[in-house]
Amino acid sequence: MPNIRYDGQIYSLRDGQSVLECLTEHGASVPFGCRAGICQACLMRAEVGRPPEASQKGLKPTLKAKNYFLACICNPEETLSVSLPGNELSRTPATIVGMELLNAEIMQVSLKAHEQIEYRAGQFINLYQGENLARSYSVASLPTEDPHIHIHVRRVPQGKVSNWVHDALRPGDTIDIQGPGGDCYYLPGSPEQGLLLIGTGSGLAPLYGVVRDALAQGHIGPIRLFHGSRTPNGLYLTDKLRELTRAYSNFEYTACLSGSHVSKEFASGRVHQIALNEVPNLTGWRVFLCGHPEMVKAAQKKAFLAGASMKDIVCDAFTSRVIPS
């Protein structure tokens, strides 16, 4: 019978026993609830080995792709190394290889990780200032096309890490990063699905990554990107995005400004309201929401009521999220 490796121990699985039964029988600490594969309290991840498909029932596609499974309905055919969500991330050093201001407040930082990091465009990494202070930044680069990891660091008033990045960090410096994490990335398999992407501020970083990833993987359904800011100064990558709209007929980009006196080349109003007006029926669409937490929350509800399935709404609210290490 296969074994289960968990938290430094090896447990042998009895015939017909679930991973959850096996672990709890030996006194290992695993949260659980319904024990029927429904409540998802016993969500775990296989770091080595593939969990059976039946044990991933009802999980978001992004979680399935990362080998998450429900321990209570998991009867594996092979040995698995498993962990609880959130415990799987270790730190690795990375050298700064480039810094470029994209607008007055957003710095693109290019990083070369000393150990190869497997990430998907749109996920986030944690960047450490010293030992214990970390901030999460979404990845705008594409592992298949860009040699380095790109993050967009917006200078936050009184922000410890962002001001340090802007003012003190220089190419050649080495810092610690951790990750990747997060579910905000393109999933191949539904090339005709409509994709709606709404972001504010540096919330454009993951969306830029997702758009380029989708296009590189041959997505043929409509891709609608809406980027919002108060003033034109908050927009960035506009030339590159307009270039992409010329190269791909299924991609549209709308820059939205919520301030007053908006010139004709921009859409005027709140970005999620403009987006939902333009794409009022989201049945069957996949929706990515990144940036200001209030925008993300309001847009999540609007998108759901407009017909998008909960499973197809990916939210990345830019709060001070830090992965517990």
């Binding site: 998802q40 929350k297 909960m310």
Partner: protein, 122 residues
């Protein structure tokens, strides 16, 4: 052996089909939408799924006490019979939309109805 209600309804696939429709109805229902204003939508969707699983006669581990504890803060904020009735209506409308036969809707409604006093803290 005769089929259980959960099996007749189509098991977990039926719950999956119902959960988005049901939650959308609840959020669009002005009588009860305010109870859901500040909640985390993903966590709430999971709760809706657990509720529908129970109403559909599926496996669950809820006790009357869980129902009381889970709704106590809402009862404090005025949750009453009229709100419970609204949820019951949304449940029936969801199942009608999914073309579930009336007699099975009645069975599910009876299960949901059995939680009324616990939900309302009586």
């Amino acid at each position: 052996m005769s089929q259980s209600l959960f099996e007749k309804l189509g098991g977990e696939a039926a719950v999956d089909a119902a959960v988005d429709i049901f939650y959308r109805k609840v959020l669009s229902d002005d009588r009860i939408a305010h109870f859901f204003e500040s909640v985390d939508m993903e966590a709430q969707a999971a709760k809706q799924k657990a509720f529908l699983t129970m109403a559909f006669g599926g496996p669950h581990h809820y006790s009357g006490l869980d129902m009381r504890r889970g709704h106590a803060h809402l009862v404090k904020n005025g949750l009453n019979d009229a709100h419970f009735d609204a949820v019951m209506e949304n449940l029936a409308a969801t199942m009608q939309e999914l073309k579930v036969p009336e007699e099975l809707i009645a069975e599910a409604a009876a299960i949901a109805e059995s939680t009324r006093n616990d939900v309302l803290g009586r």
